[in-house]
């Protein structure tokens, strides 16, 4: 079988790196502390990785990997085509190079490497790879292995042209220029780029990425497996999207802030880190010298810290979404973020909502009373003692709107709630004169008046259906309006709100964090509770058989058994906007029981 072209090119590239050990003027060569110090500052972006080799070995040697491979997903992978191709390719590498592919990887890329890129004057792309190899002995071993591999895979002798730059020799084969710089291998498709790298290695210039004002904002403390940094203004298609006006108000409320932050962004960096406890992805947008455009301030408001959200998390939520925006200011300046037709639809929406708020003008009288944080929380339904639970079992959801002063302004929300129920009753009656009316019943939770809607459903049914999941309720407590799909959830939130109070440990405002959180175990639990229902839905929605549907769901359940939680946060930090995603994994062999 012919080796694939990609594999051949890889060998050619790597071997060319390793075979060359030209005479060095080592007395002038600097010690390389960071690879970024030897990458020319003219690159528009680069990626760097550290300790890939040890992490890969640790992953492969871990007994925890066995659990993963023992799962049905793992078994499917081991029996699949991808796995057999991987084993076949690794075997080919070992056979031709005479070395364990892992050892080769460890010596070549496993310690640290940097891959940078810049635009050439001709409009092409110039790429530079810097990699820190192991000891000279290890290097010699790798070289030998690849010399064999090259011959085995190409059947050609390895012949290069030799050049000098300020008495440091380097070589060329095809489009590839490369040199060894005292344990660091530099390879590029541009002779000029290689010469600049050699100059940096000999300290003839200081124009390195490490000293670049563009890249200087990158933290040296960040823990990461891989980090990529790019100057976004050099990405033409992306640059055109920054700060663009949107035609959807909800989209604007969610995204215009980040989109605007990118407009003044001089550096975008992304880091990826992983361990057995989770996978972390971080994206940071660093503003340029002009700093953050304050036009986008409504998307990054400062709010006093409160323990409320942390405390309700402890009550076993399935998930939550927290959004902090100065909606009133955003609405006021919506023309700056939205297309004209979308601002028109906002005005119509405002007029419609005014009807519910007892005639108060939504934009001018309701919005200014809103606080800066809106949250949506979800919790699995509690188990019904002694009576059948509704099926499907739908998690309760609640919208928490913060107000500047709920005592003064809570009333219009109660009016709006009652108006909505009345309108729904009238609509139902118009369609069916015998339809039961929904009644709003006041109910006390501590000292707080809650309003709970009785849907008029028959009591104690044998097989309660989907509608038995809902007892829409409203409460005004502290500085919060809570509108929930179930009374249980509203009650729990009211209790927590009363306990926490309106403030927190500190009232010093700081930039608020938008956050999405999903609890893996709660998700697995609700999936387990609805397994039969969901399988049947798969049958009618996807046309699969019941057995196939159950198998698909079992795979999702198995995936969830590895997942502790998923957390996404976005926030402003000084003159940078950050996005963090963390997928928490359940480590060890713990068998997770479904939680409520």
């Amino acid at each position: 079988m012919q080796p694939c072209p990609a594999l051949r090119s890889f060998f050619l590239f790597v071997i060319s790196l390793l075979l060359l050990r030209g005479p060095l003027k080592s007395e002038d060569l600097q010690k390389c502390e960071k690879l970024a110090d030897w990458a020319p500052a003219s690159v528009i972006g680069y990626a760097e990785a550290k300790n890939l080799g040890p992490r890969l070995r640790s992953f492969l040697a871990s007994p925890k990997l066995k659990r993963l491979l023992d799962s049905s997903l793992g078994r499917a992978y081991l029996q699949g085509k991808d796995y057999s191709e991987l084993i076949e390719n690794l075997g080919k590498i070992e056979e031709s190079a005479g070395r364990d592919p892992l050892d080769l990887f460890d010596d070549l890329l496993g310690k640290e490497f940097l891959l940078g890129s810049r635009l050439s004057f001709a409009g092409g792309q110039e790429t530079l790879l810097l990699t820190r190899t192991g000891s000279p002995e290890a290097f010699a071993e790798v070289r030998k292995a690849f010399a064999l591999a090259f011959k085995a895979s190409t059947g050609l002798p390895f012949e290069t042209r030799k050049f000098d730059h300020e008495e440091h020799s380097f070589e060329q084969i095809g489009d590839l220029w490369f040199s060894e710089l005292g344990g660091i291998l530099a390879a590029t498709n541009s002779k000029k780029l290689l010469e600049e790298t050699i100059d940096l290695a000999y300290d003839r210039t200081e124009k390195s990425v490490g000293n670049s004002p563009f890249f200087s904002q990158l933290s040296n403390k960040d823990d990461f497996l891989i980090r990529a940094s790019v100057r976004p203004t050099f990405i033409p298609l992306l640059a055109g999207e920054f700060g663009r006006k949107l035609d959807n108000p909800v989209q604007s409320l969610l995204l215009s802030g980040f989109s605007g932050a990118l407009r003044n962004c001089k550096l975008l960096s992304a880091t990826l880190d992983s361990s057995w406890s989770g996978i972390d992805l971080g994206i940071t947008l660093h503003a340029d010298d002009r700093g953050f455009d304050e036009k986008y301030a409504p998307f990054f408001p400062k709010t006093p810290r409160s323990d409320f959200h942390q405390n309700i998390q402890k009550r076993g939520l399935l998930g939550s979404i927290r959004l902090s925006r100065d909606i009133s200011e955003w609405w006021e300046n919506s023309a700056a973020f939205l297309e004209p037709q979308a601002t028109g639809s906002l005005a119509q929406f405002s007029a419609a909502l005014s009807m519910f708020f007892g005639g108060l003008n939504f934009q001018d009288e309701v919005l200014p009373q809103l606080g800066k944080t809106i949250s949506l929380v979800f919790r699995n339904p509690p188990k019904n003692e002694g009576r059948p639970s509704p099926s499907p079992s739908i998690p309760g959801g609640a919208l928490i709107i913060e107000l500047k002063d709920a005592k003064k302004f809570g009333r219009p929300f109660i009016v709006a709630f009652n108006s909505l129920v009345s309108i729904l009753n009238i609509t139902r009656m118009q369609q069916d004169a015998n339809a039961p009316s929904m009644l709003v019943r006041p109910e006390k939770v501590g000292k707080v008046d809650c309003y709970r809607v009785d849907l008029g459903l028959p009591e104690n049914p044998e097989n309660p259906g989907i509608e038995y999941n809902f007892t829409p309720s409203l409460a005004v407590t502290g500085n919060r309006v809570i509108l929930g799909s179930t009374f249980d959830l509203v009650k729990a939130l009211v209790e927590e709100s009363e306990k926490t109070g309106t403030g927190g440990k500190t009232v010093v405002p700081s930039y608020a964090r938008d956050r999405i959180y999903i609890d893996g175990r709660a998700l697995a639990s609700i999936l387990g509770a609805n397994l039969d229902f969901l399988a049947a839905q798969q049958v009618v929605n996807k046309g699969v058989s019941l057995d196939e549907a159950k198998k698909e769901l079992a795979v999702i359940g198995e995936l969830l058994s590895f997942t502790r939680d998923l957390e996404i946060e976005s926030f402003r930090e000084k003159e940078a906007a950050r996005l963090k995603l963390r997928l928490g994994l359940i480590s060890g062999n713990t068998i997770v029981e479904p939680s409520d």
Partner: protein, 431 residues
């Protein structure tokens, strides 16, 4: 054949060999009429059972499969009209008793209850379950159950039928549409019958006899006077000869579709009465008759959207997204669980107009699509059998030579294109 035979002879059992061959074409004809479509496996099974045993076997009561039970349970719990429609579409497509579903569809059209007014999909599902369970049994039992069915009582305003202010809706439809037919009762009979049904109400989604609202006074129905209640009226309707002929003729039209003469109407009525009002028994006799297998009975019924859509998918052994099927049928003019009026759907040529025909074509085109929501057809199996196999699958009785040549020439070896072309053929619009 029919011109030379008397009505009774036309209804006599089909004799393979003497009256015609018992072959794949005959078995496929029975499959199309008694169920939906003519899937190869079913046709083979019918062929083996023979014309006498096959109808009884197909109409037999079977336990639901775990998949059918799971879907019924989940859709009932959702409780929306769309969920109920999806449940029934899934049953028709993947259920294990399509003959019962086909008969249930007949009763759904006959009693024509619509969720647009009932507004309780679970009650609609209960009604369809009633059709599935009692549809092949004695008509008396079905009619009595329907008179107390909560969906029916809601549909025909049972709760507003009170002593002193009778609502005639149910009584009128009972006589005109459910049992006797126009001309077999008087306006006075309807008024008096309505009084007998006063107090037949729905409470908590169940039948409730509201004594306070019931008119206990004497009533005169069909010339007889007595202190009649609803059950007495139902009995009186069922005892009339007109009821036997009315129901039997409707079933004859549904399964056979050939013209009914006065003589034939009487003969079918006798067949019905001979079977003690048992619907399953009558259907079996009708579809084993010489008339059923006669040349003029074949491909003589313009397919309903359910026959067309479900039948095509079943013939192709396709798995489809059941959720989409009711929407497809609705575009073709049949919004199941939502018949257009108390008279049910207009049938025959009324199924086809410029809109519904285009919807049928669009459905035919979707068969060759490979989007996630399009039906999954076992193309490998179809490819194995080739163009000939496909032609025989859809038209085991053969296809006009010219049409056949055009189809083969125009579609080449593209079997997907051929499926679309065959499903769009005028011949395929008939069952």
């Amino acid at each position: 054949m029919s011109a030379a035979l008397t009505a009774r002879e036309r209804l006599e059992p089909f004799r393979p060999g003497k009256d015609g061959p018992w072959d794949v074409a005959a078995a496929a004809h029975l499959a199309r009429r008694l169920t939906f479509g003519s899937p190869r496996k079913l046709v083979q099974k019918i062929l083996e059972l023979g014309p006498r045993a096959a109808p009884a076997a197909l109409l037999a009561d079977r336990d639901e499969t775990p998949e059918m039970k799971a879907v019924a349970d989940s859709q009932r719990r959702i409780g929306s009209t769309e969920a109920a429609q999806t449940w029934w579409a899934h049953r028709m497509l993947r259920g294990n008793s399509p003959a019962r579903d086909k008969l249930a569809l007949f009763w759904h059209d006959h009693f024509a209850t619509s969720d647009t007014k009932v507004r309780d999909a679970r009650l609609m599902m209960d009604q369809v379950q009633l059709f599935l369970r009692r549809g092949p049994g004695p008509f008396q039992s079905l009619l009595k159950a329907m008179a107390k069915d909560p969906a029916m009582l809601t549909w025909l305003d049972g709760n507003s039928n009170r002593k002193g202010e009778p609502n005639e809706n149910f009584a009128r439809e009972l006589m005109e549409l459910f049992s006797l037919g126009v001309g077999n009762y008087t306006e006075e009979d309807i008024k008096e019958a309505a009084r007998a049904f006063t107090g037949w109400h729905v409470k908590n989604r169940r039948f409730w006899f509201n004594r306070r609202a019931h008119d206990t006074g004497p009533k005169t129905i069909f010339g007889l006077t007595g202190n009649f209640d609803g059950d007495d009226i139902l009995r009186a309707c069922l005892e009339k000869r007109a009821c036997a002929e009315f129901i039997a003729e409707k079933l004859f039209n549904y399964y056979l579709g050939t013209p009914v003469s006065e003589e034939l109407r009487k003969a079918i009525g006798e067949l019905y009465l001979a079977g003690s009002h048992n619907i399953g028994s009558l259907v079996e006799k009708l579809v084993t008759s010489r008339e059923f297998y006669s040349a003029h009975a074949r491909r003589s019924i313009l397919s309903s959207p359910a026959d067309f859509a479900v039948g095509t998918l079943r013939t192709l052994d396709a798995t489809a997204v059941a959720e989409r099927l009711p929407k497809e049928m609705s575009r073709m003019g049949m919004d199941i669980l939502r018949p257009p009026s108390v008279k049910g759907w207009q049938k025959g040529r009324a199924w086809l107009n410029s809109n519904t025909l285009l919807s049928r074509y669009r459905f035919a085109n979707s068969l060759a699509d490979s989007t996630e929501s399009s039906p999954r057809i076992p193309w490998d199996k179809i490819k194995k059998e080739g163009a000939e196999g496909l032609l025989t699958l859809f038209f085991p009785e053969g296809l006009d030579a010219k049409i056949r040549k055009t189809i083969i020439d125009e579609t080449g070896n593209d079997l997907k294109l051929m499926v679309t072309a065959l499903v769009e053929l005028p011949e395929h619009q008939y069952i």
